[in-house]
Symmetry: C2
Subunit: 444 residues, 2 copies
């Protein structure tokens, strides 16, 4: 019997503000950061997890992680693994910590790091990469407050329905990889592209037309990368160009509701698949109004990177406010809450395209998209997964992309949730006493 005996927490910050990586209309001066926890046990078993921030405040999240993790110290791991849904409920049920959420902000993303570390440990204990833990999904999800949208029984029926062809889908994705798109501005190596907008409409239109002309031209595909097949074009709607590629645009919450409609309909000419985060992430009815306002222009709406819990996603689906569900692997409180959202999205028939980039997010999300494809939605044709090619070198088992620009399937039996960071990276970038930050201070 293995027991959790304690944990280590690290505040790790990478100096991305120096290069401008990840900067957008709302989130300037980013130092991509990880609030990182490793659970320790009285055996060799460990579990790593993290949540992502963009710098200042990462220390606040680390302190919150400690409070949440304290609830699990002393527990027997097999008891926790036996019903990960129940374990999630227990983790979330501290009444005093609940007050400073509830289920949102610092305490919720801290809960995400802790829950993810537990799932990592669970996967390691079974010598499987996390996505292979696809039995018993329904007992692993968080169901409180969403029974008006999906019951456990309905979730179970969805999973049963997908059961028959699971093996086939697993083989297919192992062979082909999982579809990816890139966001890094100006880096046009992939068929699908996402562009940041919101600062100047005329300039956005000009840039969009340039990107469009490139992704619509089969000559510009990277060597060896085939255009999307016709079936996939059909699935991706009329805004897929002649190569099957789509262009997405992302406003990072800069507008009020009417502003969003007025601005984005002016970008009709670049045929965006969707506008991402047009307004405040809490504004479900606002997203619904924007979607309705943009429908005549053939432009969809996506959000979720800042949607803070399953209740927000539930309402976005109920209100028909979005065309694409963009879950975040550690803004939601870990794998258990993500599973609830995957199940709801499948029931409502809305594709899931997780948010990634930052640090560690790409490592996480490939597991979630594999679970979605193999066991829940059964589809990867409409879906794409964000990919940004930086900071992967800090992970022991980094994600990777195949020659067709698709995510490879993680296969290492010891990689768990793929989020273990190199000890040397932690030592260098721990804030404020890691060697890198001490060096910066010395130079000042």
């Amino acid at each position: 019997m293995v027991k959790i005996t304690g944990y280590e927490i690290h505040d790790v910050r990478f100096p991305t503000s120096l290069t401008g990586d990840g900067t957008d209309a709302m989130n300037t001066e980013c130092d991509y950061s990880s609030a990182y926890i490793s659970f320790l046990t009285d055996s060799d078993l460990v579990g790593h997890g993290m949540t992502f921030t963009i710098g200042r405040g990462n220390d606040i999240v680390c302190i919150a992680i400690k409070e949440v993790a304290n609830r699990l110290v002393g527990k027997e791991t097999e008891e926790l693994f036996a019903n990960m849904g129940k374990t999630w409920d227990f983790m979330m049920a501290d009444p005093q910590l609940r007050w400073i959420g509830p289920e949102k902000g610092v305490i919720h993303i801290a809960s995400g790091a802790v829950n993810n570390a537990l799932w990592d440990m669970y996967a390691r204990s079974r010598s499987k990469p996390l996505w292979k833990l696809i039995e018993e999904l329904v007992n692993s999800a968080a169901f409180r407050y969403i029974s008006d949208a999906i019951t456990k029984e309905e979730a179970l029926a969805t999973l049963k329905e997908k059961e028959a062809e699971k093996k086939e889908r697993e083989e297919k994705v192992r062979e082909l990889g999982y579809p990816a798109y890139v966001t890094s501005a100006g880096w046009l190596g992939y068929s699908d592209e996402k562009m940041k907008v919101g600062a100047d409409q005329a300039n956005d239109l000009r840039r969009g037309l340039i990107i469009r002309s490139i992704i619509d031209d089969p000559q510009h595909l990277p060597a060896g990368q085939a255009p999307r097949d016709l079936n996939s074009e059909a699935l991706r709607g009329k805004n897929a160009g002649p190569t099957g590629a789509v262009l997405m645009i992302d406003a990072n919450q800069v507008w009020d509701v009417q502003q969003a409609i007025d601005y984005v309909k002016g970008l009709e000419a670049i045929k965006p698949w969707f506008i991402e985060e047009p307004t405040a992430p809490d504004d479900i009815l606002g997203h619904a109004a924007i979607r309705k306002g943009l429908k005549p222009y053939g432009i969809g709406v996506a959000t979720g990177e800042h949607a803070h819990n399953r209740m927000v996603f539930k309402q976005l689906l109920q209100a028909e406010a979005i065309d694409v569900v963009q879950i975040d692997s550690c803004r939601l409180a870990g794998v258990s809450e993500v599973l609830s959202v995957l199940l709801m999205a499948a029931k409502f028939g809305v594709p899931v395209c997780p948010h990634a980039g930052g640090v560690g997010l790409c490592e996480y999300v490939i597991h979630l998209s594999l679970i979605d494809y193999i066991a829940v939605s059964g589809s990867m044709e409409r879906n794409v997964l964000e990919f940004v090619d930086h900071l992967h070198e800090h992970f022991v088992t980094p994600c990777s992309i195949n020659k067709n620009g698709r995510y490879n399937v993680p296969t290492n039996p010891n990689e768990g949730y793929s989020i273990e960071m190199h000890k040397a990276s932690i030592a260098e970038f721990e804030w404020p006493h890691g060697s890198y930050w001490v060096g910066v201070k010395a130079k000042k």
Copy 2:
């Protein structure tokens, strides 16, 4: 020219868990706590503010307060006071801290403490209690993300419309006091009562009938307290009893949506004015469904104590999800965001009954209800303000109740937002090194 030169922050926790004060179906083991900040300047001018928590995690909020307060150090106070709306926007605009919200949870309630401290300082600088700062309200409010519900011009029109009789209303409330109700279980000294429900339906019904029989009997009114007048009865709907008193019930988020409807309709016999917090505070559409489901039984819906920002209130109003808006003075990010909600509630014609109790909340909310009555909604007939009679002794200018069970109007020109805590109270209850907590540890 006065400048902010720094601040002091205190983590103050009162051992209310020993007495069971404030315990309900969701929030057990409460130690009512204050994350408290005092701004210092290069003059005698100071500003005190706090946010409320129920214990564990109060330290996390204190660290977040520090991060937000840092933005204001070095600023000239008159520049900040000149446009408190713009100042609020500036306070909220740190991109890195925004990521760990945005506008929710720890970082948002910390922003509430900071904004309230600034408002306290503003009122002190004008030698007025805060509620008397009722000019320029429209420039003091937070308008981002709510222009689809109310524009600045509409808000201005509302305020102009109320202008003529402001003086008259001020005189009236100074004379009568502002209506209050109590929540402390079993303490039946007031005409209106609120009862906690959710653990057992039959028992709730039994207790409710007892309370109903008492508040409906004119004999049980405290000496000197008149029954509500007929006009007020009419305004309060058919669930006001023969004395004009109403009974409210509060579930503190324990149910899923359908559960809430099923449970509460079974309490029809006790004629509750409303059910408070029937489900997750983020569930706008859920509250709308519950309100629709309970309408045939004459029972309304209230929420807001955990509604985390103006966008949530905007949607609750747009979706016609609530009968009563229950703002919290420090879960919203301070006076500026509260003003936005007061303005929206007035436009939608929904009464505002602020959440109070805890520690410091009663001191705060009388100011907000006075602003609402005198300058915004113009009505205190439908409205009531929660009152709980404990922990007031820790404040320099505590709130008080008149012989008719109504809040007295704060009149001390030096009390600002009435939230200054006695230095001795801070020294005794500061956690973990105050004399009280050191004593507890020594006894263990």
